[in-house]
Amino acid sequence: MITLQEYLSVGALLFTVGLLIVLFRQNAISILMGIELMLNAANINFVAFSNALGGLTGQVLAIFVVVAAAAEAAVAIAIIVLLYQNLGTVDVEKARNLNG
């Protein structure tokens, strides 16, 4: 029997993997993918809770998160292109002029 717990576990796993991607990849595009995965992990929680609570609110929340994720991705892509134009790389760890 698949219960709420199983879905939440999938969410937690996805969140952890997304987190690790942000931590261990230096490629800005990969980092963005990691962040998308983190948001998706939250989404599966929303939907699972929605189902368990017997309302549709959670699903609607998930839709909003998808929208926000898309908006973030659009800006992020622009920033990445800009980064590549100015620094000639998409390696975020190479951009460390600002420090101290």
Partner: protein, 635 residues
């Protein structure tokens, strides 16, 4: 009808006018406005104080003037309220009176300075804040004045910024004063927590109410001690007491009238004033009062010792100021508030006089401040010489000049004091020794500057000149005040009676003690002066004269040599080394402590900025560690 707000307003208006419109008028107008406004304040304070005196019942001699409600915290309001009582009246008179004289003096002193207008704007601003400080009923308003005078002091120390190659002097002044303010602010918040008000009169009412109705006091003894000590830390910073005195000698970098006004007569006495104002709090805590007395006594003697070995004329006076402030704290610490304030007043007269006199000397010598390059100025600067003599005798405590009476009263009070920390006899002994040293270094200063052969550098010799009238008139007035101010104060106990609504009539000391102390203080005053004259006036020529009168006898020659050595080894050297040791302590321990604190904080800053590597991946890791810890904590 009291016109309290018109005490503060004239300098404020004058400074605004000079600031905004000053560029369109000349120096004369600027100077007239600046000086005239302070004179006006003085006259208004005089008038108000007279009206206060006319109130028959001494207990009701309080006037207040609410300008507007400033701010409110919750249901509790802080009005901008000025209160005139005998204490603030006396302070106002000193500030505006001495302040006016110093303004007048500055006109001559700063006439050729390109920053003339700016100088007077700062000076007037200082007067405004100082008046705010003494007239405030609310501690928060007092704190505004407190910070304001600090700001002016800082601006004026750095007035000749070109001379301040290393801003470390200003920095030191600021850092040390912030430590003091820290104490003050914590004290303030604790007062607020205890009394739920910051108004001094309300605090006093609460306490007297509680005593009258036998209610528990709003304040446990321990709390009172903590509050008093916190406030005293603030007073230490502002009034340059151990260990926060280090900034004052460095503050001499500013123009001399500033040293006279801010760093001698008025601002540095704010700490004494504050404790005198809050005397009812200190009455609850004998321990805190004892600490005040001990720190005051220690500062008095410590600064006097360092003063022995200084060669800069203003540095000597600066350490002397620290030492005299120590006397005032000693007085308020042993509960002799009246005499603390009395000494504050006389000190304002003679120390302002001495600073202005030294300024006159420096002015005449084109900026020379080294005592070793002065001497023999008595003929060239007669007015300065005679007035300076009055000041020197006054501070040394020679009867019947001002310093004698006030110092004498403090020593009597110290002799009779009972503090939980230290016996009155010890305080008396320390005070007496400090009086001796005071007489000695002041005598030395006087001799080296005015008597003996002229050691002024050749190129500066020809234009030694007496100062213009704007500079000499204040000197003469202050000399008169230094001469008669003390006697006038003790005549029929007039000063004590004036302050009696606050502190009660002073108890008469046992005549035996009184006579003993009087004799002792006179003895040390004359002893110190005589010794200094002997060393610095007679000693250099003593060998010559001995050689002339008894030159034919080898034995006499040998004995002359012996006398010289005796002087050298028994008196001069020890005194010199004690002074040098004090100075070294000052430089290496106290200064370093200040610097190390700053250095340590900066080091921590560097360490922390190292974490800010610029690598966004690292930022994410720190973020994550933060989340992890929070998740652990909050479950």
């Amino acid at each position: 009808m009291f016109l309290l707000r018109y005490i503060v307003l004239p300098p404020l208006i004058a400074l605004l006018a000079n600031l905004l419109l000053g560029r369109w008028w000349g120096r004369k107008t600027t100077a007239t406005l600046a000086c005239g406004s302070v004179l006006l304040s003085f006259l208004v304070s005089l008038r108000d104080s007279y009206y206060l005196y006319m109130i028959t019942l001494p207990e009701t001699r309080v006037a207040s003037d609410v300008m507007f409600t400033w701010l409110s915290i919750g249901r509790f309001e802080i009005p901008v309220e000025f209160v005139l009582d005998p204490l603030s009246g006396a302070m106002c008179l000193i500030i505006t009176g001495v302040g006016f004289l110093i303004h007048l003096y500055s006109v001559g002193y700063m006439w050729h300075d390109p920053g003339f207008r700016r100088f007077f704007v700062y000076l007037n601003l200082f007067i405004v804040f100082m008046l705010l400080l003494v007239l405030a009923d609310n501690l928060l308003l007092l704190f505004v004045g407190w910070e304001g005078v600090g700001l002016c002091s800082y601006l004026l120390i750095g007035f000749w910024h070109a001379d301040m190659k290393n801003a470390s002097a200003g920095k030191k002044a600021f850092v040390v004063n912030r430590i003091g303010d820290l104490g003050f602010l914590i004290g303030l918040l604790l007062v607020f927590a205890a009394f739920n008000t910051l108004s001094v009169s309300e605090m006093q009412e609460i306490i007297s109410d509680a005593i009258a109705r036998h209610l528990p006091l709003p304040l446990a003894p321990l709390a009172a001690t903590v509050i008093c000590l916190c406030l005293f830390v603030g007073a230490c910073g502002k009034s340059a007491q151990i260990p926060l005195y280090v900034w004052l000698p460095d503050a001499m970098a500013g123009p001399t009238p500033v040293s006279a006004l801010i760093h001698a007569a008025t601002m540095v006495t704010a700490g004494v004033y504050m404790i005198a104002r809050l005397h009812f709090l200190y009455a609850f805590s004998p321990f805190a009062s004892g600490v005040v007395a001990v720190v005051g006594a220690a500062t008095a003697i410590y600064a006097a010792i360092i003063g022995l070995a200084q060669n800069d004329i203003k540095k000597v006076l600066a350490y002397s100021t620290v030492s005299q402030l120590g006397y005032m704290f000693l007085a308020v610490g042993v509960g002799a508030y009246t005499f603390g304030i009395f000494h504050l007043a006389t000190h304002a007269f003679f120390k302002a006089l001495l600073f202005l006199g030294s300024g006159s000397v420096i002015h005449a010598l084109s900026g020379e401040q080294d005592l070793r390059k002065m001497g023999g100025l008595c003929r060239r600067l007669p007015v300065t010489f005679w007035t300076f003599l009055a000041g020197t005798l006054a501070i040394a405590g020679v009867w019947p000049l001002a310093g004698f009476f006030s110092k004498d009263e403090i020593l009597i009070a110290a002799r009779l004091a009972e503090t939980p920390l230290i016996s009155g006899r010890a305080l008396f002994a320390v005070g007496l020794s400090a009086a001796f040293l005071t007489a000695f270094y002041m005598g030395r200063l006087f001799v080296m500057a005015f008597l003996g052969p002229c050691r002024v550098e050749a190129d500066k010799q020809h234009h030694i000149h007496e100062s213009p009238w704007t500079m000499t008139v204040p000197l003469i007035v202050l000399a008169l005040l230094s001469a008669v101010g003390g006697a006038a104060g003790v005549y029929h106990h007039s000063f004590a009676r004036w302050l009696s609504p606050l502190y009660g009539a002073p108890d008469a000391a046992p005549p035996a003690v009184e006579h003993f102390v009087m004799a002792a203080s006179l003895a040390v005053a004359f002893g110190g002066l005589a010794l200094s004259f002997l060393f610095y006036l007679q000693a250099p020529t003593l060998p010559d004269r001995l050689a002339r009168t008894a030159g034919w006898l080898y034995r006499w020659v040998a004995e002359k040599f012996y006398v010289d050595e005796l002087y050298e080894w028994i008196v001069v050297r020890p005194v010199y080394y004690v002074g040098v040791a004090g100075q070294a302590f000052d430089k290496h321990v106290v200064d370093r402590a200040v610097n190390w604190t700053g250095g340590g904080l900066k080091g921590a800053g560097f360490l922390l900025s190292f974490f800010q590597s610029g690598n966004v991946g690292t930022y994410a890791i720190w973020f994550l560690i933060g989340v992890s810890i929070l998740l652990h904590v909050m479950r």
